[in-house]
């Protein structure tokens, strides 16, 4: 399942949902807000999502992962709104019988989420400017 939230993400509570007596491996990924992007000092990040399609596309990605890797349990949470340095913007957790599929499935899910979910982030820089990430051409045309 995918959740969209404006609150803190708590990985420890979330990973418990993935417990399965047949699971020997758990892999978790978190995207944290970092203080730098492409040479710019970043102060905070604002996430905007179009939730109806973020949810349906997220569920589609999780279903694809479960199809590729049998016996997988997978869950993810994405935050929206304003986030500070060090906060968790996205969490992906998977449990599987063995570690190979746990790593591969977790990686598949986060890679797909990043390019397919209708989510945008705006960086607020130390110099007072701001900019939409991945949107250099948009910015030029503004």
């Amino acid at each position: 399942m995918i959740e969209m939230t404006t609150s803190d993400i708590h990985p420890d509570d979330l990973r418990k949902k993935l417990f399965d007596p047949g699971a020997g491996a758990y892999c978790g990924f978190e995207g944290w807000i970092r203080n730098e992007n492409e040479g710019h000092e970043v102060r905070r990040l604002e996430y905007e999502a179009y939730e109806p399609l973020a949810r349906s596309e997220g569920e589609a990605i999780l279903a694809e992962a479960r199809e590729r890797f049998p016996h997988l349990q997978a869950h993810c949470v994405h935050r929206t709104g304003m986030l500070e340095i060090g906060e968790c913007a996205v969490w992906v957790g998977v449990s599987a019988p063995h570690r190979d599929e746990a790593f591969l499935a977790c990686r598949y899910i986060i890679d797909q989420l990043k390019v397919r979910l209708p989510i945008w982030k705006k960086e607020y820089y130390a110099d007072g400017h701001s900019g939409w990430v991945n949107c250099e051409r948009c910015a030029k045309s503004a």
Partner: protein, 80 residues
Amino acid sequence: MKTVTVRYFAMFREHAGVDEETLSIDVETAADVFRATRERHGSAEPSGHCKVAINDVMADWDSPVGDGDTVLLFPPVAGG
């Protein structure tokens, strides 16, 4: 002419200055809608890395747009 509601997101919204607007335009496909709004708001953004949805379903640029449809214009995404 068709009545089409266009919704803008992120950079596109800031650029258009509105969340959504309803237009009477002569269009066949999602690409036509994109071009019309680009001209309307003076943008030169190519559609290459952008995405489009029609009535809350992901679509292609050559998907047909009907009278009364809502077209969602997504600038390049950057989740996570």
